[in-house]
Symmetry: C2
Subunit: 328 residues, 2 copies
Amino acid sequence: MSTDTKILRALREVGEGGVSGAALAKDLGVSRAAVWNRIEELRRHGYDIEASPHLGYILRGSPDALHGDDLMARLPKNRVIGRDIRVFTETTSTNDIVEKLARDGVAEGSVVFAETQTRGRGRMGRQWFSPPGTGLWFSVLLRPRLRPTAVTQLTVVSAVAVARAIERETGLHPEIKWPNDILFGHRKAAGILLELGAELDRIRHATLGIGIDVNLLEADMPPELREIATSLRIEAGRPLDRGSLATAVLRELDHLYQRLAEGDFHEIGDEWMRRCSTLGRRVSIQIGDRRISGRAEALDDEGALLVRTEFGTIERVIGGDVTQEKLS
Amino acid sequence: MSTDTKILRALREVGEGGVSGAALAKDLGVSRAAVWNRIEELRRHGYDIEASPHLGYILRGSPDALHGDDLMARLPKNRVIGRDIRVFTETTSTNDIVEKLARDGVAEGSVVFAETQTRGRGRMGRQWFSPPGTGLWFSVLLRPRLRPTAVTQLTVVSAVAVARAIERETGLHPEIKWPNDILFGHRKAAGILLELGAELDRIRHATLGIGIDVNLLEADMPPELREIATSLRIEAGRPLDRGSLATAVLRELDHLYQRLAEGDFHEIGDEWMRRCSTLGRRVSIQIGDRRISGRAEALDDEGALLVRTEFGTIERVIGGDVTQEKLS
């Protein structure tokens, strides 16, 4: 843990009570001058840290910009997801960076955020609009011990983690659309792109890319997106703290990923089904050259969607591009 | 096509008949001095090119070292596999290079050879022994339009291509062991490692790594390999021309890959089954934490192995590590 992470963690723990420079120096095993230096550096990053003569240092406010040390300070110590967090001002796509980390043998759980992506991408080679400072665009390196056929479980877990975090931070109730879009009504507020490095029967690594439109206003969106996209700010009617939402997602993801590793997919799948707007509806799913139409019935044990076709047969669907009937 | 590829293609076509520098210059649209320069350069690479006063240039012999331009000169012009061939003296693993090409958006069919690999790898993270100049270690970039679940078809196609090429060049009859080892008796002479870049429902690219022990002698092998590995030279009792075998494999692969793309997997699967030493035997297959035991019965339409267990059920197997009962 870096000194900045330790200082921010301590400041957040004591809250209004404050902590003296002497106590911080002792806890951290560094000099008081070193603490003072780091506090000054954090202030330069936009942290509003008051130095009270009686109470010591008090954290009064955080910058909107994401800060890896601060995000780590807000997460539990024994986490897997977010064990290391890096924030880039700009990158092509955070998935590209994590892919590179994966090939360099970095351990799972590393997370990369970018304030903006020049070539952010969504599923099926689509672009993902990610303007500076308005959303959370990040990727997580995973090394799941799953068979490639069970990898849909990961997208189910991710969608539930994002939906839970949004609910907690905003009080809103987002819906999940198969396989892992997060919607309000028919507008998308978040998307997930899972990319795999695999052999026939073994997943080497999975790069989980998550994009959440947090503080975008309609005016920020290109006209073609306004009908199909929304943001948490638009839905909640107020801007949101991105750092707080980011840590909420990572915390949920860490929790659910560990449950998945323990073989506990069943309950997570049930929660996905309760949150899912696709189940029970008539759907039409394009998978490559094929189109499957029918009623979305359930998830199976591996996280695939079961669709009952007009012929009465059950088709097992992984991924694909879904059009779902609007409820009247 | 490079000038060297054109010259070598012309020399191979005319054979003993020879071709004059003037005719070459005219065909290639370059000066006679340019032809002479390239011929000199090819000689420096080890090509034995005679300049006969009456017949012109005659190719008398080729070096053992692999040469990308020469390999391309030996392949049909309208090929997909081998449209571009690069030969490295040494690399970590040819799969690494092709992975990089894939991410750079290079078209499918590019092939990378290395005379030696410092970190050659086999399936399941195993090392692949690839000493200088004794084998064919190469990787092919593919962008198959297959669902991820049908990707086993690619390994079936690759194994058949390698087996056919070995048969053609040596007269030997290798066996295929599930999923794609090439054996003589119980000793492995070639292996295939397929690595995928994928989304849930889409293969972005596949890196097909092929390793063939061509001219290794038993003395070249580490002691622990001698019981389980062999080479074509050991089996055939004579050294083989690596360039000739390499082009034979690429030619077969090109042919079968195009048939696969046309939806013609069925016959290739049948040929795989005829060549396969696994079918009909009792097998024990380790897949991650699971072990499946039973009788290997057939391939299904997607290239998976169907195993009848002792309980009478059919298990569908993709990949895995197979121990097969020896025939008595």
